[in-house]
């Protein structure tokens, strides 16, 4: 009851005019909650309250803000933090060895796209904000370099206080100027410098650093996603001085303020890091160092975990690999599972007939028995949940009962297929109409999903062939529109509607809209959900967006949400799965029991 009440109270508090968030470092003991919210879990409650109040006095904000901040700190206590489970006393020392299936092209997170950069390099850097590493939904935002932050009444100005005493690994102090320079590098890159996610920051007008400890972000319009965007795991904080001398310096060098110091990178082999003794989150990290070994082959990754050459692979493994490891290692291996913020979508090329007709597109989605598909495919590949446009179980996800009202999501598949056949007849599509599904030449989950869809479409009288395209040629095909129907996919680094829905805007707004449609209604819904600060209103707008995208217009066909499975050797502790394989990779809270 207490938990539910507190959640409701927090929900109301978020609507109030000024909000403030506090993130405090307590000197001891070294527990994850200590640095995330300033709450030493193993200490007496009275002491905790005193230290927190001291901190809040320093922040000195209005009373509602105080209540919000205090409640934010109490929540983890009442909900029971995963980071400080009973009997899990963190142990210091040891080297964590993990395998990474991909290798970073360069070291610059502001420009690269692959998780192969995040996994070995995130431990060297800090962020302004980060995702709480113990939040299983991967959505709770806490301070990293930011000590506290406030938001103006009109939601246009976000002001951050930067922790004092942070130093780069080369000994230079970190100030607000470095944070500003890093965000300028991301949002307003100098000519000739590519910033991959610049488009996500359209709402941001400017970044300024009025003093050494304050960073101010000014927005053009209120953005519900502002904090999420600032907590992006890609937004490593770089040195202003190094960026000034050479905006491309970080492509070939590493110098951050993170829990580990870069030792070496041997291309094709490994990245090595050692403990940063001056890390600003006191008492962390627990590990002496880490070794990220690049292993491209999936079977070699599993063999590495099985043979004890590696503790974990942080991206995800297939159900078959999970079962194999379970059988071979028994109690020596543990598994964590979560819905994955990745999904396969089917893009209908609106410039090709008959896929320009929404009745045809609706027929194709109505033909799918998603529940049977989920049951069958979850046994063999990395998909599981029937979902809409948001990861199931997260803040803005449509509840299952409501989802069933969307085209192709109903339980009565016989009726849906009868409707699909009627729509095809009505739109003049002949029986045994032939088309090609172009699929990406990657085994999991693309090929099983493609095969399953073809079978489903055959049941409404369509004759579909699958053409597998080499991964390297796949994006050219998609971007060039050289397809009738194609498998598309999307992976998010954060469960945040602005990020997840961006690609579905009209083709003139989103270069990743491979279905090549223009839909001003959808664009308007996107814009409105992005700019509202009223959560209930945002939920309604996202629902409307979803209904238009996958039901009324059926611009895209959502298949299934991916399902993330992580296998870890028993000695590894302090790492918790989230829906994104991009977050929670700083490794400062990870420790080894042996």
């Amino acid at each position: 009851m207490k938990k539910a009440h507190l959640r409701r109270w927090l929900g109301r508090a978020s609507l109030r005019r000024t909000t403030a968030y506090v993130s405090v470092v307590a000197p001891s003991p070294p527990c994850i909650w200590t640095f995330l919210i300033g709450l030493p879990v193993s200490s007496p409650a009275s002491t905790q309250a005193t230290s927190r109040l001291d901190t809040m006095r320093r922040v000195s904000l209005g009373s509602s803000a105080m209540r919000r901040a205090a409640a934010a700190m109490l929540v983890p206590l009442l909900l029971g933090p995963a980071g400080a489970r009973a009997g899990e006393e963190p142990r210091r020392g040891g080297e964590l060895v993990f395998v990474v299936p991909s290798e970073p092209p360069s070291y610059d997170a502001h420009r690269e796209e692959t998780f192969g950069l995040i996994h070995p390099l995130a431990p060297f850097y800090s962020l302004l904000l980060r995702i709480d590493p113990t939040d299983p939904k991967g959505a709770r935002i806490v301070g990293d370099v930011a000590e506290s932050w406030t938001e103006s009444r009109d939601h246009l100005i976000h002001t951050f206080k930067v922790r004092p005493g942070i130093t780069f690994h080369d000994g230079q102090p970190l100030t607000a100027r470095d944070v500003k320079a890093s965000y300028d590098h991301i949002i307003f890159p100098p000519p000739g410098v590519a910033s991959s996610r610049k488009g996500a920051y359209a709402a941001f007008e400017s970044v300024s650093a009025p003093d050494d400890h304050t960073v101010v972000f000014r927005l053009r319009w209120p953005s519900a996603a502002a904090l999420g965007l600032l907590a992006s795991p890609w937004n490593f904080i770089y040195s202003a001085e190094k960026l000034r001398r050479d905006p491309r310096w970080y492509e070939a060098h590493v110098d951050g303020t993170g829990p580990f110091i870069f030792v070496e990178h041997v291309r094709g082999s490994h990245v090595l890091g050692r403990r940063n003794p001056r890390y600003f989150h006191s008492g962390l990290p627990y590990l002496d160092g880490f070794r990220a070994t690049f292993v491209k082959s999936a079977s070699a990754q599993i063999a590495a975990i099985r043979g004890g050459r590696a503790m974990i692979q942080f991206r995800g493994i297939t159900p078959a690999d999970r079962d194999q490891l379970q059988k071979a290692l028994g109690a020596e291996v543990r598994f964590q599972e979560s819905p994955w913020d990745c999904a396969n979508w089917i893009a209908f090329n609106h410039e090709r007939k008959p896929f320009d007709d929404r009745r045809v597109r609706r027929a194709l989605t109505l033909a799918i028995d998603r529940y049977e598909m989920a049951s069958a495919l979850s046994k063999i590949t990395i998909v599981r949940d029937v979902a809409g446009v948001q990861v199931p179980g997260t803040e803005y996800a449509t509840p299952p009962a409501e989802l069933e009202t969307l085209a192709g999501y109903g339980r009565d598949v016989g009726r849906a297929r009868a409707e699909a056949r009627r729509l095809l007849r009505e739109s003049g599509v002949p029986d045994a109409f032939r088309f090609t599904l172009k699929n990406r030449g990657i085994a999991h989950p693309y090929e099983p999903v493609g095969v399953y869809l073809i079978d489903q479409w055959r049941r409404i009288g369509l004759d579909v062939t699958q053409e597998i395209i080499e991964p390297a040629a796949y994006f050219s095909m998609l971007r060039g529109g050289d397809f009738e129907v194609a498998m598309d996919f999307q992976c998010g680094y954060l469960v945040e509607p602005d990020l997840d829905l961006y690609k579905f805007q009209s083709a003139d707004l989103s270069d990743a809209n491979y279905a090549r449609y223009r839909d001003p209604v959808l664009d308007d819904l996107y814009r409105r959900q992005s700019r509202t600060t009223d959560k209930a209103a945002r939920v309604r707008l996202i629902r409307a967006f979803e209904r238009r995208l996958v039901d009324e217009e059926a611009h895209y066909l959502m298949t299934l949400q991916w399902h993330r499975i992580i296998a870890q050797r028993r000695p590894l502790h302090g790492w918790y799965i989230t829906p994104s394989h991009y977050v929670n990779q700083q490794l400062d809270t990870v420790w080894l029991a042996e």
Binding site: V99, P105, S106, R111, E112, E113, T114, F115, G192, V193, A194, S195, S196, R197, K198, G199, A200, E251, A252, V266, R267, G268, S269, H270, T293, F294, V295, K296, S297, S299, A300, A303, A304, R306, G307, G308, R309, A310, A328, E470, P471, A472, A473, Y474, F475, S476, M477, R479, Q490, C491, L499, Y502, K503, S510, D511, A512
Partner: protein, 317 residues
């Protein structure tokens, strides 16, 4: 001998120039480009303008003939340029993997030679006996079983029997010979076995042919000790085609162990090759093809020299 060597060396140049032109054109014909793969892969936010910035930076907006000329100018100066994927010097990327690939090739060749020559010889001498059948079975199995599959079996066998896996990172032999061998001996065995199967069959058939030659019959007829007949008259002559097979296979091993390297997680040239093509890293792929072409041409050159040295009829012709 010198005119022969010079002639063979000069013949290499048009071969390598042809390879360079061919690989340059083929890479450009393939769909997909490095910029799209790097920036439009997992993200929804990379705009066309961003992609164009990168294309300009890599010189991909220039005419093809100009790109080719600039590349060839570099190659002539032994400067292969920079990888389009990593931005690092290509010479460093190759040098990093060269040691491992060369070592695996040498080890696999050693395994192959140690198996193939005695087995092929034995099978020929004991033709149509159980020894011959056993050797033929062994060599046919080697041809039928892909080396990567054998590698997977080895790994599984080690895991199941001993709960042990070979190291997954390369350690140079001068740093730790034990650790180095613990990693490389397995792929060398897997590849060497297949390699030996080819050489064993070649050795057997060459020996059978030589053993039927008049000069061998003459040597036997004059009462020469059978072992001497074999070693001095038969084996030396039978080795000519076997040597060719060994040299060509060795050249192939330098860049061709694509799947085996993945199975054993070897950071070698084969894996680099696959990745460079998968990333559409034009400059790196072009350099790797040239390197492998040079190794192959040189291996052929060495084989020709040895032939000419062993058989004077060749150099005089």
């Amino acid at each position: 001998m010198l005119p022969y060597v010079v002639k063979r060396l000069l013949l290499m140049l048009p071969t390598l120039a042809g390879v360079a032109l061919l690989v340059f054109v083929l890479m450009r014909v393939l769909p997909g480009d490095v910029v799209e793969l790097r920036f439009a892969g997992e993200s929804s936010f990379a705009s066309k303008a961003q992609l164009d910035i990168e294309r300009r930076r890599l010189g991909l907006d220039q005419p093809l003939w100009l790109q080719f000329v600039q590349w060839i100018e570099g190659v002539v100066r032994l400067d292969f340029g920079r990888s389009m994927w990593t931005g690092g010097p290509i010479s460093r990327e190759i040098a990093l993997r060269w040691e491992l690939s060369l070592e695996v090739a040498i080890l696999a060749t050693t395994v192959a030679v140690l198996l193939a020559i005695p087995l092929g010889l034995l099978a020929a001498v004991r033709q149509d006996t159980w020894v011959d059948y056993a050797v033929r079975l062994f060599s046919i199995a080697g041809l039928a079983v892909p080396s990567f599959w054998l590698g997977i079996l080895m790994i599984l066998g080690l895991l199941v029997a001993f709960g042990w896996l070979p190291p997954i990172e390369f350690t140079p032999v001068y740093v730790s010979p034990g650790r180095n061998l613990a990693q490389l001996v397995w792929p060398a065995l897997a590849v060497g076995y297949r390699y030996s199967a080819v050489a064993t069959r070649m050795m057997r058939s060459a020996m059978l042919e030589v053993l039927r030659e008049d000069y061998v019959r003459t040597a036997r007829a004059k009462g020469l000790w059978p072992r001497l007949v074999l070693s001095r008259h038969a084996v030396r002559n039978a080795m000519l085609p076997v040597f060719t097979v060994i040299v060509l296979e060795f050249a192939f091993l330098i860049g061709g162990l694509v799947v085996t390297e993945q199975v054993f997680n070897l950071n070698g040239l084969g894996m680099l090759f696959v990745e460079s093509i998968a990333h559409r890293d034009y400059t790196l792929t072009q350099a790797l093809v040239l390197v492998v072409a040079v190794v192959t041409v040189l291996a052929n050159f060495v084989a020709d020299l040895v032939y000419a040295w062993l058989d004077p009829r060749i150099r005089y012709a």
